[in-house]
Amino acid sequence: MSDQKLVNLTIEGRPVSVPEGTTILEAAKTAGVLIPHYCYHPGLKIAGVCRMCLVEVEKWPKLAPSCATTVADGQVVNVYSQKALDARKGVLELLLINHPLDCPICDQAGECELQDYTFQEGRADSRYREPKRFNPAEDFGGDVLYVTNRCILCTRCVRYMGDVAGDRALCVEERGDRAHIGIAPDHDLSHPWAANVIDLCPVGALVSKDFLNKARAWELDRTASVCPNCSQGCNVTLEMRDTTLVRMKPRSNSEVNHFYLCDEGRLNYEWVNRADRLETPMVAGKPASWENALAAAGAALKGATAHVVASASLSNEALWLLKQTAGTGKFRVAKGAEAPLPGVPDLALRADRAPNATGAELLGFSRADQPLAGAGAVVVIAGDDCAGLDTGALASAKAVIVLGSVVPAGAPAGAILLPIANFAEEEGTFTNLRGRVQRYLQARPAPGLARASWMALAGLAAAAGKGGVYDSAEAVFGAMAKAEAAFSGLSYDSLGLKGQMAAGARVNA
């Protein structure tokens, strides 16, 4: 900060101090004024094509596009002067000339910037009497549908694909009133990060085929979470219609994913809604109460050395309680192809397709391709990662304790099954591959008698005579931060919703 010169100016009567080179639009945000804009996006290069962000700068002969004008000392900026309002009203009227009146069937309605700004500043009626231009919708491939009529040609998608994704698939075709977004021959939007154009599009021109007609934007309940599909740990928002997860959207975090989320991450969520869940504790194939099931599991664990199979999809809290209860063990991580986003440093769909492999390793668990191999008399399996494993080793086991959200395939008939919640149904933290500890919040209730994984494991630890009493995930995290050097100094308060680096990872980095 010391080498940056601060510039003082006045925006809407409020004194603002921002670093030199900031645009008026960004400076206005610090003053609490959101200047309407379409083509500007903080993650993209400045284009200045939409003319929506025109503001009046005193002593300047013309209005200035605030997204492309840098601040200067002593400027007095009027965002809501009559001249600026008239100019923006004119821009909106022209944008709406060919924009269809199909808000009732448009997926963007409710989160559409054209709707918002028209409502704020636009004309109540249209003076255009000619028939509107009509173009058919076009399938752009991937998850993207282009509804040509709704496009306002802000070119955010063109700039994103060219500058950030590094795949010049999109361009503006034709000119004047025939202009529309075109796709290059032999290209489609199957780039692994292409679906971000849906979030970038300020109107309903680029819509998700997956989300099409599923829900209205205002019906959704939004919860801050972390993408569980790879070890990058992109911050996401879970959007639920009633208790069904209908889409995942990126939540901006300049330390992790900026504004983006990969296609695989955003589209791999249906498993959260699966209905065939393990809903009651089972002992030897019969439903049992939590008390009886935990007592049986605790009795099996007492005095025995357990073979522990963990999962990289469990939270740090659950893994630490698992370590307290039965010691560390092995886990398996599903692998996939890595897919970086060229325009953003250190952002990729990672090869480890699980959110918390780093957390498990910091807590002393180790990777293994066959984590069940060498299982002894007592086996504890936590998480759902054992599908498809050779379960032959379990046949000779005296006691098998499984904590899972679904009925595990290949578990022996005498196993004790404890139902746990998935990541959308509990609170917890994941540690991403750079060691950033990030919280995720509960978006919906767990089915049946299933408990949050930290709660089930805290009960198991108590039944085995090895744990304290915890009443929340936060309390478990606090105890873990005291006990584990890798997490020392962290708490839910200090993590906030953007996360913090774990102490252990800070040393390694």
Partner: protein
């Protein structure tokens, strides 16, 4: 103190029932001869209800008989009684339509917001009051019932005076 009784002398006009009886009978015979009816002879006669009467719902249809509704979700959003259940879907031509559109008429408070908010002028309150059913569940009107009803619909505002001035 001894209890005494005071006899009040009243005029014969007040104490005689004969006069009152004939007065009452005179009114009865007057109506028998000249029936000035006040009671509406329901169900032979029906009350003329106003153009802004808000009764049970009706869904208007297009010429091909389909509901005009595009499942935009505004009516369940605006409904203060939460009585509209809507599940959107898409047909083969890519048009949005309501796969489920149920209105619980027991929960409805007949405020008319659904009609006012509807961008397609599909859902309307009816100028209609004969709602008796044999079963409680029949008061949840589904799309088939809503579209097949034919009674006149509410005029939310006077066309000659749309702003209510």
């Amino acid at each position: 103190m001894a209890i005494t009784t005071r006899v009040v002398e009243r005029p014969t006009d007040d104490t005689s029932y004969v006069r009152a009886t004939f007065k009452g009978l005179a009114l009865t015979f007057k109506h028998l001869v000249d029936p000035h009816k006040v009671t509406v002879q329901y169900p032979e006669e029906k009350w003329d209800i106003g153009p802004r009467w808000r009764g049970t719902h009706r869904m208007l249809t297009t010429e091909d008989g389909k509901a005009k509704c595009v499942a935009c979700g505004l009516c369940p959003t605006v409904c203060p009684a939460n009585c509209i259940k809507l599940v959107p879907s898409v047909d083969e031509q890519g048009n949005r339509y309501p796969a489920v559109f149920d209105i619980d008429e027991f929960r409805c408070i007949f405020c008319g917001y659904c009609q006012e908010v509807c961008p397609e002028e599909a859902i309307h309150l009816g100028r209609h009051y004969e709602n008796a059913e044999y079963d409680r569940k029949d008061f949840v009107y589904d799309l088939t019932r809503l579209t097949s009803q034919t009674h006149p619909v509410c005029e939310m505002w006077d066309p000659a005076d749309p702003r209510g001035e």
